[in-house]
């Protein structure tokens, strides 16, 4: 039986959850509407029927409660996977995530492990109403004690989800909801590369675009478009935001000598700035231009009727590539 299957990202995550539920009795799912409905994105579809209401738990409508009780279950020896319905609704749980989940292992001097996974459908471009399209990753990346993953394709989504669940640390998985229906091959026998490392998805020589999650396909398309202009763009899928594989990103930047970092989140105070600083420290002398950022603006996520002007697209990435080439090597 071939273990390579074509599936959409949402179903790759479903498969990962199913496989972990089957592998370990201590793995539980908890969240709003994840049972009979299968979640608002149907990611948990069929799992309650298969594993029962006590392992796929429909929670009261209370995000702090979902994360707080997940912490308690994890202390007791379980591996809860909590679903937060949308990015914008993670904030009622912000206290539990940042003051409790993130710190528990540290404040107990390593005595208490809290292997909680939080699945967070995130990002825009779905034409929704407010609070349904946000990218809060920088807020969590700034909190020591959390691991943050952002898969961009079904293969990564499957293996990152499994790696997150078996990790003894708390992990937030940012699931790019605009890519839930993106198809791809999933090799169920051969793991994707380590979830906490970046990966070069497309080799190039003239500039690097580093990004994660929903913008990876955009970066690949931008690289393809640039080829028409005889520019060879390397694309790095950052994959893990915490820890950040600055080594792989800096190596690529040192090679191509130009780096553009893109994310949907606002650039101000964002992950792009962190990457720019780290790459400057590691590869300053190799760079022909400053690291440039492409991202959202310093505004609340706009009404989706205007999101096409807010979100980075191929043209915004190519404009940044042009801008990078406009810098001259100084004497």
């Amino acid at each position: 039986m071939s273990a390579i299957k074509e599936m959409v990202m949402a179903k790759a995550i479903t498969a990962a959850l199913r496989d972990e539920l089957a592998a370990d009795q201590k793995t539980l799912l908890i969240g709003e509407d994840i049972g009979a409905l299968g979640g608002v994105f149907r990611v948990t579809e069929g799992l309650q029927a298969e594993f029962g209401p006590h392992r796929v738990i429909d929670s009261p409508l209370a995000e702090s409660g979902i994360v707080g009780t997940s912490i308690g279950m994890a202390m007791r020896g379980y591996r809860p996977v909590a679903e937060i319905q949308f990015d914008g609704f993670v904030f009622p749980a912000f206290n539990q995530i940042t003051t409790q989940l993130a710190k528990m292992h540290n404040r107990t001097d390593g005595r208490v492990k809290v292997p909680v996974t939080i699945r967070l459908p995130y990002g825009g471009h779905i034409g929704s109403i407010e609070h349904h399209s946000e990218s809060p990753e920088a807020l969590f990346a700034h909190t020591a004690g959390l691991r943050i993953l952002a898969p961009s394709n079904p293969q990564d989504a499957y293996w990152m989800t499994r790696q997150a669940i078996v990790s003894d640390d708390p992990v937030i998985i940012l699931e790019p909801k605009r890519r839930y229906w993106l198809k791809g091959k999933v090799d169920l026998d051969n793991p994707a590369p380590d979830a906490f490392r970046a990966q070069v998805l497309r080799e190039g020589t003239d500039a690097t675009i580093a990004t994660y999650g929903p913008l990876v396909p955009v970066a690949l398309a931008a690289a393809e478009a640039a080829r028409a202009e005889s520019r060879s763009i390397e694309v790095v899928d950052i994959r893990s935001i915490s820890p950040l594989d600055d080594e792989t990103i800096a190596r690529s930047a040192a090679k191509t000598q130009r780096l553009i970092v893109a994310h949907e989140a606002p650039t101000f105070g964002g992950i792009g700035g962190e990457i720019a600083a780290r790459v400057a420290e590691r590869a300053h002398h190799r760079l022909l231009a400053p690291v440039l950022r492409v991202g959202g603006f310093h505004m609340p996520y706009p009404p989706s009727a205007q999101e096409h002007r807010y979100l980075p697209d191929i043209d915004r990435m190519l404009e940044a590539v042009d801008r990078s080439f406009s810098y001259q090597r100084s004497a």
Binding site: H54, A62, T69, G72, M73, R76, Y78, D109, K113
Partner: protein, 399 residues
Amino acid sequence: MSDGRPARRASISGAVGEDHTVQPEEVQPVQLLTPEGKLAENEVYSPFIAELSAEKLRELYRYMAMERRLDAEATSLQRQGQLALWAPALGQEAAQVGTIAAIKSSDMVFPTYREHAMALYRGISPEELLTMFRATRHTGWDPREHNFHVYTLVLASQTLHAAGWAMGIKQDRRTDSVPRDRAEDEIVVACIGDGATSQGDAHESMVFAASYELPLLYFIQNNHWAISVPTRTQSRGPLVNRAKGYGFEGVRVDGNDVLASYAVASKLSGDIRAGSGPKLIESVTYRMGAHTTADDPTKYRSSEEEELWKGRDPIARYRSWLSSAGHADEGFFAEVDAEYKDLAADMRKSVLALEPIDLDRVFDTVYSEPHRQVETEKAWLKDYEAGFAEEQTEAGTAG
């Protein structure tokens, strides 16, 4: 104040001479021992006291006295700059000792940060207890060893952890997989103060507990003051009535009565063990000391109120009854006093000897698995500090 809302300034100036501890809608708390030290009969609760041996009765006193001695010593250590902060439990000894003595040592307890008597009862040593207040480590004990979780300062957060732990208990039983180191009949106690009942997490915890019929006992110590704000700003009705809204039983108890505290916790924990689902205790007590050593109660409450509650001192009341009922003689009290004098001296010595955690250890416990940024920063700090060490060596050689 004409619209009925408390105006902050007015309520502070109105504090003097006003008893903030009387609530508009009173629910008579269960009391077995009167402030004069007389034992009353109660059909439901007296039988729980009747079965206590004289030795057990004396043990309750011992822990109350131990807490009070520790509290005085810790306050003085803080005044001398040896603790970063101290949160006294002075006046709440009966509420805490009565409750913890009534549950099993195998029951998991999730405390706030003032459950010192409960911690001592669970075998946590004074220096372990004071470690976080000396700020040498965030916590001094292993929660698993004492079935007593570490203190939680972000109010009410731990009530959700307690609910999650209780969900785990139920799932263990359903799947016949209670871990070998846990008791089959375990229940959970979630401690919370009157102020923290206003936190959203307290509400969410009670919603989860009710929905999933969790084996969870909420232990609210209503000490009447959330720093400077009286309980009636948190709730216009007795806190015990909250339980009804969630669909479970709550009982109000005189928290300065160790026997009533014991009896009520025995009754409710027994019910929970028998499968009743969650229960709630509102233990009406009084924070006789300051909120913490950084607080100044003279700014917001009257000396009349403090005097009133001094007359309800839980230890004096219990001591008087132990004597009059013939369960303890003066020799016993003298022995306890001597013992805790030693304890205070030992505690002072061991607290002053507490070594701060190494920052390397802090790096090492941020995650349980390797993390690139943590490792890089740890290595950087090591190199940086090694540079100073070399300079010092060179300076030493040159000199």
